[in-house]
Amino acid sequence: MIDPILAKAAKKCDQAELYYAESHSLLSRSSLDKLEACKSAEDRGFGLRVVCGGRIGHSFFSREEDADRAISGAVKSAKLSHTEGYSLPGKASYHKRKCFDPKLKALDEEKLVDMVLASMDATAESADPIQAEVEARYGTVEIASTEGVYAKDTESLFSLYCVGKKKESMGDESFSSRKLTDCAVRVGRVAGELAEQGVGASPVDYEGTVTLHQDVIGSFFGESVVRNLNGELARRGKAKWADRLGKKVTGDFTLTDDPTIDWGIGTMPFDDEGVPTTKKDMIKNGVLKQFYYDTRTANLAGAKATGNGFRGGPVSPPTISMTNVVISPESRGSGGGMFVRDLMGYHNMNPVTGDFSLDITHAILNEKPVRGCVLTGNVFEMLEKGEWNGPTETRAWLTSPQLSFEAKVVGK
């Protein structure tokens, strides 16, 4: 299907690349203790990139009959672009890892409803069920270019999310994997237990050790750390570590971007430009080893693409994104102090300086629940002086132990 469109585009430009994505999703959702809806979606679309005189243009379309207009639009875009000297990536071979579970394709709505009901019942053991949602997705991405790239892969994603409430306290838990996993009862139960744990929470003033749950670490990394590993932001001087390549930037741990982990939600053989993905240390024992690049930003920086060019779908050109992130500390501490399970307002932190002042929405101190107070600190100080401890867990795209550091909490 994509070859005739690519051939047509190739006649209008120096290089062309066609990205085709089709996805299928099936979802079941409850509200309170009843079933609310089942939903399915089938989507497909094309993203076209062309290069004219080293300049790149992009367009998108969902119907084949709109291809001619999209080709014309992409060529016009390329001629207007000031980004010069660009060339599409060439032919490559790709690794094989487990990222498609055919059982997810075979799931029907009745089985999803069973999972939702099981989650709700598990939440109800300790709290009122508020919401349970199970989704099974699978889809195929196909990329072909005039430069010899042909990449095709089918991936799946299974996710489950539950919310429970007890008195004024709410708890939520989620799980995601590329593999169908028997976790409905566990996720539902944890949501209920967290809601129960938060009953009677109050603000405190506290100065001492604070230990962060992996979900909190993931949010800090997503808002700040990964941003400062973005090669384009570094090139533009908008990343804290822009001039720190080869230098110590954190404490003694290694941060690995690893798209080769079987069933990891960021696992894929190639990125959305057809560049092979690879396992790589971004920070090795605290030393900054490299930045993330897609092909366009690598071209601008005089660097090599790292296989981290991903799209939000056919409508978006590729931009830099991480895959699976794994934290491996050199040593481990004992943790303790206030255990923080959830914070609110990450987007208000300063991603470059790392300064943060965030509302605690779920924490435990001396076995008593805490909420409604403010944790202040700096992400980069936390990464430099903090101690990794506790079990290593995979939560969505992050595999990490817990992290402890000295901090101040101000009550209201």
Partner: protein, 448 residues
Amino acid sequence: MLDTLEKAVTSKADFVEIGASIGHMTRLHLREKEVETVSSGSASGFGVRALYKGAWGFAYTSDEKKLWETVERAVKLSRASSRKPIGASLAGKSDARDSTRVKVKKHPQDFSLDEKVKLCLELAGDRPKGITARDLEYADGWGEGYYVNSEGAALEYFPVRSFLAVSAYSKKNGELLKAKDAAAGLKGVELLDGKHAMVKKVFDKALLLQKATLPPKGKTRVVIDSELAGVFAHEMVGHAAEGDTIANGKSILGGKLGRLLGSRHVSISDDPTLPRLFGSYPYDAEGIKAQKTRIVERGRITNFLNSRESASRLKTESTGNSRAESTGHFPIVRMSNTFFEPGDRSDDELFEGVNGIYALGTKGGVTEPHTGYFQFAAEYGWLVKNGEKTKPLRDITLVGHLVNTLRNVEACGKKSRLGHPGFCGKAGQNLPVSDGGPHIRIKGVLVG
């Protein structure tokens, strides 16, 4: 298109609705005076929602040829949910038949990519001394939207939207400081007309941030500008007043209709009928005509925002606030243009004798609807002594609880500015909205 959709409506469920859209879009991104990306394209989709014995089924396809099987699929999905149904039903009736076209001065379709790029480059202008980097993003879109249902509604909508965002950066001691502003609405390319002042204001803010210091921490009296007032209205009150959030037991406002929430100075509304604002629409996603809803009046909660579905659960009427990001998304209760109503004070009166902080603009905000705790960040501000602005401030975070904060509202300004645009996220759906209001003075706000 409406004929095709009406023929596809089936009687195999208690209620069926179909939404269809064909959209066209252009986006361009300038960094400095260089065009970094230009992208254009089109997309279409068909979404079907079916209600059967108190539970919903929803199916979507981007392929028009699969419309009939998508209708069948939605019906089948509704039957799966009806094993233990929530008892969903719809308040009122939706049988409007209408066609609405957004008329603009300069339709994006009539301007080539070259012309749009030229206009944006001209707007970006020269970089003033002290500004280290600047970005300009422009997007426009137009299309056709259709809605039919089994109650007889048949609606056509031909919207046009455009969006402009400008960012500027300066540096102080190696630290990057960012200023921004945005404009958007149901407008065409004319959105860009006369926006030089907005660009200059962004440059000026970025330079001012170089002189700014961190605010003193602790509880203080705060005057917020119209943009931040809009964020308070939207994030603090609007989300907690959404009918589905209330029906699902997730809002602190649940069961409090008619009760006092804030001081007599607090009046908050949502109004999708305001002309040309980013969150405006003629009919909601269930075919209900848009209307203004007063959420809070003189401190008392007067209405929640509802879809037909949430209204049924709360035993009230729809306020026309059902929206979906696209035909591929399940319609849920959403805000449109949300704002504090103006008060009776002049600017001088608002600041008279104030010792505290004047907080302007927004870097975002979040509220937990079930507890009422919030955290908002202003873009910048001023230390105020005896009613006079003294030193510029940055990284101002305001934290607190919505009830305490609304009770502490002391005064609202006469002048109101609406239409600060943004994209509101809820349940994985991002929708164009706007907010605003007058300047507002609040005592006892915790600055973190």
